[in-house]
Structure formats: structure tokens, C-alpha cells
């Protein structure tokens, strides 16, 4: 059974600081996704990582994938308040047939 873990589950950080969110998954998967969810809202796609060593960056967020370690990281650079949200990683089996989400990391960026 595919399981996805994230840590930390809660993260409070100051503006301007850097931090990393970790996503571990239990069995081989073919894609890894990062999503953002604001309170009461739906999920917004951030990144899709397809292969070992993949790295993608958008603004202050950078995601990477190590398929051998079954680990993905979401690195936040010089955090700003607008990044406050819950971040989910998800992995898929069978080319998108079954998505399994992690529990989410609730990020709060304080001024």
C-alpha cells in the first residue's frame, strides 16, 4: 500500500527565512506532485516531478525529487506572508490512476 508522509506537519517561520518541507513515500511511484491549498479553497498545482533528480522552481519555491530515497523536498527561500497555506505532496501509481496525498504541511509565515 502506497503511503505518503510529510514533515513537518506544522511550520511557523519568519519572513525572510529559508526552510524545507519533506515528503517521503513508501513504494515506487511514477510521478510526484506538490499542491498548495489556501483555507476554504481548492488545491492549486505547483509542481509535477517526473524523474529522479528532477528540480523545478517557481518564484520562492523549489521542488526536487530523489526516487532512490523516495523523497521529495519543497524548499522555501526568503519566505513572505503570501506563502502562508497548506502544502500537500501527492504521488501517483499507474500513470495517474491512483493519487495518494500526504497529510499536508500547514505553513504560517509571520512578519
Amino acid at each position: 500500500e502506497l503511503k505518503v508522509e510529510q514533515n513537518p506537519l506544522f511550520l511557523s517561520m519568519q519572513e525572510g527565512k529559508n526552510y524545507t518541507i519533506y515528503c517521503n513515500y513508501s513504494t515506487t511511484s511514477d510521478r510526484l506532485y506538490w499542491y498548495r491549498q489556501d483555507p476554504g479553497k481548492s488545491l492549486e498545482s505547483l509542481f509535477v516531478l517526473l524523474s529522479n533528480g528532477a528540480v523545478k522552481q517557481e518564484g520562492r519555491l523549489m521542488a526536487s525529487l530523489d526516487t532512490k530515497a523516495r523523497l521529495s523536498t519543497l524548499h522555501i527561500t526568503a519566505a513572505v506572508h503570501d506563502l502562508s497555506a497548506t502544502y500537500f505532496c501527492a504521488v501517483s501509481h499507474n500513470y495517474g490512476q491512483n493519487f495518494v496525498f500526504g497529510p499536508g504541511t500547514r505553513l504560517s509565515v509571520l512578519p
Partner: protein, 113 residues
């Protein structure tokens, strides 16, 4: 280009009732997946539809059923509602032709009393 749309946005039902939620996928997408998201948790995969067939199913009882129409829109039906079915129900669409991410709709918030 309209993204994924869902209706209704909010719904209140009582235990034992039945509910139908609706989803229209993003233009060009042929695959629809449904998720249940309880408060404070990650989305849980219910099932996925492609070519009007249920392609994959998560760990949900048979009370949860679905349908996909030729225009790729989809319905989620839940029978014999329980209090624990209260959640945000999310529909996501994607193109089956690999490498595509899922795009999520705004969700339907269901409250079972």
C-alpha cells in the same frame, strides 16, 4: 477557458439521505477523479473515471458510486449518508495522455446532520 467546475458549492443533508455531486472537467481533459477531504486532512482518493468507466477505486464503500457521461462530465453519488461523510468533495480532471497533472475544482462542501 473554464477550469474544472463543480456544483453545488454547499449542501446540507441528513443522515440516511442520498446526494449527487456534479463535475465538469477542464476543456481538453477526459479523465475525472473524485476525492474526499475531511477537515484538516489531505484529500482521499475515491475513484477515477475514463471513457465512462470506473478505472480505479480507493478504499471507499459501495455507498459511493459515480458516473461519467460522453461529454466527460461526472457525478458522484453517495447513498445512506453518515455523519462521517461530512467533508469537502473535490473533483479533479486530467488528460489521460501521461505527464499531465490534475486540476482541481473548487469543491462541494457537504454537511450531514
Amino acid at each position: 477557458d473554464a477550469g474544472v467546475t463543480q456544483s453545488p458549492t454547499h449542501l446540507i443533508k441528513t443522515r440516511g439521505q442520498q446526494v449527487t455531486l456534479r463535475c465538469s472537467p477542464k476543456s481538453g481533459h477526459d479523465t475525472v477523479s473524485w476525492y474526499q477531504q475531511a477537515l484538516g486532512q489531505g484529500p482521499q482518493f475515491i475513484f477515477q473515471y475514463y471513457e465512462e468507466e470506473e478505472r480505479q477505486r480507493g478504499n471507499f464503500p459501495d455507498r459511493f458510486s459515480g458516473h461519467q457521461y460522453p461529454n466527460y462530465s461526472s457525478e458522484l453519488n453517495v447513498n445512506a449518508l453518515l455523519l462521517g461523510d461530512s467533508a469537502l468533495y473535490l473533483c479533479a480532471s486530467s488528460a489521460l495522455a501521461g505527464g499531465e497533472t490534475q486540476y482541481f475544482g473548487p469543491g462541494t462542501r457537504l454537511l450531514v446532520l
